[in-house]
């Protein structure tokens, strides 16, 4: 029973991380229906940005955090401006392939600069955050990631629901020509969505880095694991992404604990194929019925 509970807690916290890292992905998909295959690399970029500031430049942690956020916001803008803007209006295939190319490019670049080793952040989380409950323990990183996740979810919920930019983004996602004709600046919305996505990715990247250490390969695998999560939840639903993340996290941990450790890595993808066959729009995704 204790084993089960520990697996459950681990699965829950890892699942929450998946959900957190899926947010940036859903963000881009929601506004421009681009599948971002460079997602893992965005996570890694944010994490390394923070690493440079905190370990190499030795700035205070809060300042590092803020600078990373601003820097990644700018980075997202630049990525959109340089690489995605020229392809507006092209076929979706080409945009998807572009993100595949971007992912290879960024990954190679980061491997060249930082190498494939594991890097670590200095310890800065207060121990008081960790929860000890009988034999079950929840380390402080998980608690803090949970808190950060909740804050972000709340902020984004409000952003999409009430702010004018959030409403523009939803309108573009809903029907691009209609949004254009009503005077929404679609280009700015795309740029903004990439910028925000980069910020969210940086946040998740930092949290992941605190937990597992930062490693380019690991983070880019993490980026691909976003796909089962978002497909399960429904591609364009933030709530779905969270639930999907938690389900996938639990599933992974239970498979790892009870069946075999090696199967753990591949279980999400098996689930992914099954969902695609049975219910391609996921749990909460908007169903566009088109039978061809």
């Amino acid at each position: 029973m204790e084993f089960f509970a520990q697996l459950f807690i681990n699965g829950l916290s890892i699942g929450f991380l998946y959900a957190l890292s899926a947010l940036g992905f859903v963000m881009i998909f929601k506004s421009s229906s681009v599948l971002n295959f460079a997602h893992g690399e965005l996570l890694a970029l944010g994490a390394f940005f923070f690493l440079i500031l905190s370990v190499w430049a030795k700035l205070p942690i809060v300042l590092c955090f803020l600078v990373t956020l601003v820097g990644c916001f700018a980075l997202g803008f630049i990525i959109e401006r340089l690489f995605l803007r020229p392809l507006i209006g092209e076929a979706l295939i080409e945009v998807i392939m572009l993100t595949v190319g971007l992912s290879a490019m960024f990954k190679g670049l980061m491997l060249l600069i930082f190498g494939g080793n594991l890097h670590n952040y200095p310890d800065f989380l207060p121990e008081a955050l960790s929860i000890q409950w009988g034999a079950i323990s929840v380390p402080s990183v998980y608690v803090s990631s949970f808190i950060i996740g909740l804050i972000f979810l709340g902020v984004f919920g409000f952003f999409f629901k009430y702010s004018s930019h959030g409403i523009y983004m939803r309108s573009v996602a809903d029907h691009q020509p209609a949004a254009l004709s009503l005077g929404v600046n679609v280009r700015r919305v795309f740029a903004l969505s990439w910028a925000i996505a980069a910020v969210v990715c940086a946040m998740s990247g930092i949290v992941l880095g605190i937990i597992n250490g930062i490693n380019v390969h690991q983070l880019s695998t993490m980026g691909l694991k976003v796909f089962p999560v978002v497909i399960l939840g429904g591609l364009d639903s933030i709530g779905g992404a969270i639930l999907g993340g938690i389900i996938i996290g639990l599933l992974e941990n239970f498979t790892g604990g009870y069946i075999s450790t090696s199967l753990r890595e591949v279980v999400p993808y098996i689930v992914l194929v099954l969902i695609l066959l049975v219910k391609p729009y996921g749990l909460f995704g908007s169903e566009e019925i088109e039978r061809v």
């Binding site: 229906s33 998807i96 392939m97 572009l98 190319g101 490019m105 497909i231 591949v266 993808y269 061809v292």
Partner: protein, 356 residues
């Protein structure tokens, strides 16, 4: 017999047959025969072992790239699992050769057939899914196949892999670079011929119709699912065939090369070469394999220079970076790839001294 004539300035086609011909002028046909002659009877004799090694790799990669181009370029179904299918081909050839004792040629062809079946299984999601979702399904296929290759140890030998017997055809041992290059070049020529002719058959036109507008294609009476599945099958057959050849060529295979990165490499090939063009796939294969060779030579050269001795340069990340950069640059600046560049160069020669 028609006379040798140059291509006229302008479009004087009167029949659909003229639109469908492969060679618009007899010069084109002549160059094809000359090229084939050079490839089969001159290159294997004059090439050094290293040149032949590179050319063999190019030809094998080109076969697989043609397969992927049929799927992505002609049918418009993105697949991120081509590297894994290549691996399935390599493993099926190895297993058929070692466990069942099949001869070389039969096991390579059967490897193609096995891969075609596996590819069709992963193509089944295309029944309900459009490209976006399908891409994700093939990504899942990539990971599942990788897992199976590593963990089905009784069949695949796990991480240790399989060592293949030496390939023989009609009792002749063809394992050396030179002898194997005939096998590879010949299969390359046959596969090219098949693909070019497939593209202008009813199947090829149906694929293009599906790519351009699947609803219209369905409306014109093309059974979408069957044709999409067929496209997956053909594309995987090419991948499997190439994988089988590669397995015999490298002698010992492990699951390591068949990662997502290999799939991306093939995507890079067809984007750089040109989507929806058979010659483009060949150009792309030449470009990527040459780039690979140049990069590894260059890093070796730089490592040996005294000034850079402290810097440990490794090829893999550099390759990844350059491939990614190449994909991005081609997509932004020349989305139709090298095939289009080649066409522009040819037509500017033809039209000289006029601009168009």
């Amino acid at each position: 017999m028609r006379k040798l004539r140059f291509r006229p300035c302008g479009n004087f086609k009167e029949y659909y047959e003229q639109e469908l011909t492969i060679f618009e002028t007899d010069f084109g046909r002549m160059w094809m025969w000359i090229g084939l002659f050079l490839l089969l009877f001159v290159v294997p004799f004059v090439g050094s072992p290293y040149t032949l090694y590179v050319l063999n790799n190019i030809a094998i990669a080109a076969i697989a790239a043609i397969g992927l181009n049929i799927l992505i370029g002609y049918t418009g179904q993105i697949s991120l699992g081509h590297g894994a299918f290549f691996g399935v081909g390599a493993y099926s050839a190895a297993i058929l050769a070692t466990k069942a004792g099949f001869p070389f040629w039969l096991s390579v062809i059967l490897a193609g057939a096995v891969t075609a079946i596996v590819g069709m299984i992963f193509g089944i999601p295309s029944l309900r899914l459009k490209h976006l979702y399908l891409t994700i399904a093939t990504l899942a296929g990539q990971f599942i196949i990788e897992y199976v290759l590593v963990h089905w140890e009784s069949l695949t030998g796990g991480a240790e892999g399989i060592i293949l017997p030496e390939p023989t055809i009609f009792g002749l041992n063809v394992s050396a670079d030179r002898a194997f290059s005939w096998v590879v070049f010949f299969s390359f020529a046959v596969m090219c011929w098949m693909a070019v002719n497939l593209a202008r058959s009813r199947y090829g036109r149906a694929f293009v119709a599906i790519r351009d507008n699947d609803r219209a294609a369905e409306g014109m009476g093309i059974p979408l699912f069957r044709y999409k599945l067929l496209s997956f099958g053909i594309s995987s057959f090419y991948a499997g065939f190439a994988g089988g050849l590669w397995a015999y060529y490298t002698v010992s295979i492990t699951p390591e090369p068949f990662t997502l990165f290999l799939s991306i490499e093939y995507i890079a090939m067809i984007i750089i070469g040109g989507l929806g063009s058979i010659s483009g796939s060949v150009f792309g294969a030449v470009f990527i394999i040459m780039l690979n060779e140049i990069l590894s030579q260059a890093t070796q050269y730089i490592m040996n220079l005294g000034a850079f001795a402290g810097i440990a340069l490794t090829v893999a990340p550099l390759r990844e970076f350059v491939f990614g950069l190449a994909i991005v640059l081609f997509l932004i600046f020349e989305p139709r790839g090298l095939a289009e560049v080649w066409r522009i160069i040819r037509s500017s020669f033809r039209l000289w001294p006029f601009a168009y």
